[in-house]
């Protein structure tokens, strides 16, 4: 008697777990894993693709390295769009039968400063001013790696106040006034919706150094199964004029 209800609860619980595990959307839905910096632009592109008769698409946005690790561990992604070639290589060396990666956009770096630039920062060289508090992304994440390469290219040396764990946190630091400047992607400022409080409080300043300005993030996209026609179509759409226009409007540069 005392067995019945706990066991029944247990069985019910296990069934629920089983159901969740087997839960998946229907076969026509395309699953896209995309770097989180693409969020706004890719949402626009997907709306256009669906309007043009494409299949329903669900997107998982996260850091490229997180997504790459998930795909390598067997996550059910049809398309992977990375914010750097290294994570794309990590995936394509492990996954069999993938399509050819296509670069769909570039993202240049800018200096994020407080709105209207009260401290008069005009380029990377100004970041050496000792009174400034500066946030950059940690060198472990792509944005931090690019920032370091840009600083090396410009020959600018300073000690940042903090190494943020992702590039959006750098924007937030500047927006909150906790730091005076940060190095971020152009798309982090230019392409955001103006209703976004962070973006409204931040102004972008060009790096002001030709060699540093050449350092850009590259966004390769790939169909993880080359025989999946819908995924291959979507990759082609990403390289087409509609997608390029949407990316440019959000602060990315065309490949």
């Amino acid at each position: 008697m005392c067995f019945a209800s706990p066991w029944r609860a247990l069985v019910a619980g296990l069934c629920a777990i089983g159901l969740l595990g087997s839960c998946s959307s229907d076969d026509t839905t395309l699953t896209v894993f995309a770097a989180s910096s693409l969020t706004d632009a890719l949402d626009d592109i997907i709306a256009e693709h669906v309007a043009a008769g494409g299949p329903p698409i669900r997107v998982s946005y996260a850091g490229s390295s997180t997504l790459a690790a998930q795909i390598i561990d067997g996550a059910p992604a049809d398309v992977f769009i990375s914010a750097n070639p290294e994570q794309m290589d990590a995936v394509t060396t492990v996954i069999d039968g993938h399509g050819v990666p296509v670069t769909i956009a570039h993202n240049s770096l800018v200096i994020a400063v407080e709105r209207d630039n009260p401290l008069g920062i005009t380029g990377l060289a100004d970041l050496e001013r000792p009174d400034l508090l500066i946030a950059i992304a940690a060198p472990e994440v792509p944005a931090g790696d690019y920032a370091r390469r840009a600083l090396d290219a410009a020959g600018v040396v300073f000690t940042p106040t903090t190494f943020e764990t992702d590039v959006r946190a750098v924007v937030t630091r500047v927006a909150l006034g906790e730091v005076d400047a940060g190095i971020v992607y152009a798309s982090d400022i230019a392409g955001r919706d103006t209703t976004d409080a962070d973006t409204a409080a931040v102004t972008a300043v060009p790096l002001g150094h030709p060699d540093a300005a050449r350092i850009t993030a590259e966004y390769p996209a790939v169909a993880l199964d080359a025989t999946n026609a819908a995924a291959v179509d979507f990759i082609a759409f990403l390289g087409g004029p509609v997608a390029t226009a949407a990316l440019t409007a959000r602060g990315f540069s065309s490949p």
Binding site: F3, L10, S65, L133, V141, T162, E164, T165, R173, L176
Partner: protein
């Protein structure tokens, strides 16, 4: 009385099978992921972990800040627990809710709240900066503040519930015998809730040691100053997964040793009280 209790324990009825089965599932639920983590660690590289300065620096900072944070939680949390349990202060429930809200808040939100209060443009942080030139974010004290903010509720709640369940008549007796309020607290109340204080301290310390979200939001991340072991581990996941695994196992090992050794020390105290 003691012998009677011992006998009763010896002849206690067997635990019903469903309880054992579910408890086993609970143990497996905890142990399996941790075991999987340990198995995945590249143990051949373990030497690098201790020769590399970055993980050691982060571990030392984590130990230092979590111990100081635990001490701060004790100094502030014990009086708070006492006030919540022993006074008729109006609005106690609201105060308790406010003081334990950070337990359920996403830690990143806790960090944003700290920035809003103590940041360079914060509610009082702006004045601290303008009048005294004190800037808390991006400093080691900011790490400690973040840890106290999210970890202290564990001490407060543990001690408060123990204070509720202690036998008040013993305190009354001490008072009738002429003991001052201070003496009652020091000689009667505190010894009675000592096991709860100890377990509250360990919970607080463990929470402070593993703190990530509030720390990285309020204190940022700079090696040696604000990069604690959880922050270093999170970053290593982005670049060097093997090192991240080693660091997380290191964090686990330190906590595990402390939890096990402390537990043994108090079972006597807790058993003796009942």
């Amino acid at each position: 009385m003691t012998s009677q209790r011992t006998r009763r324990r010896r002849t206690a009825p067997r635990t019903p099978v469903p309880i054992v089965a579910l408890a086993v599932i609970a143990v497996v639920f905890f142990a399996l992921p941790l075991l999987a983590l340990v198995l995945r660690v590249p143990w051949s590289d373990v030497g690098d972990l201790f020769t590399a300065s970055a993980p050691r620096e982060a571990l030392l900072l984590s130990l230092l800040t979590s111990v100081i944070a635990t001490a701060c939680a004790l100094v502030l949390g014990l009086p708070l627990a006492w006030v919540l349990a022993r006074t008729q202060l109006p609005g106690r429930h609201v105060i308790r809710a406010v003081c334990t809200l950070t337990m359920v808040l996403p830690p990143v939100v806790a960090g944003v709240a700290l920035l809003a209060a103590l940041g360079r443009r914060g509610l009082i942080g702006a004045s601290l900066n303008d009048w005294f030139g004190i800037r808390l974010p991006f400093t080691t004290p900011a790490v400690i503040i973040a840890q106290v903010f999210v970890a202290m509720p564990f001490l407060v709640l543990t001690v408060e519930s123990a204070l509720h369940s202690t036998d008040r008549t013993v305190e009354d007796a001490a008072r009738t015998l002429g003991a001052s309020p201070w003496t009652v607290i020091r000689r009667v109340t505190l010894p009675a809730v000592r096991p709860a204080i100890l377990s509250g301290l360990v919970l607080t310390w463990a929470r402070a040691l593993g703190e990530f979200g509030a720390t990285v939001t309020f204190a940022g991340n700079f090696p040696g100053t604000t990069r604690t072991l959880p922050v270093a581990t999170y970053l290593a996941l982005e670049s060097d997964v093997d090192q991240a695994l080693l660091m997380s196992v290191l964090l686990m090992l330190v906590s595990f040793v402390v939890l096990v050794s402390m537990r043994d020390r108090w079972t006597g105290a807790i058993g003796g009280r009942r």
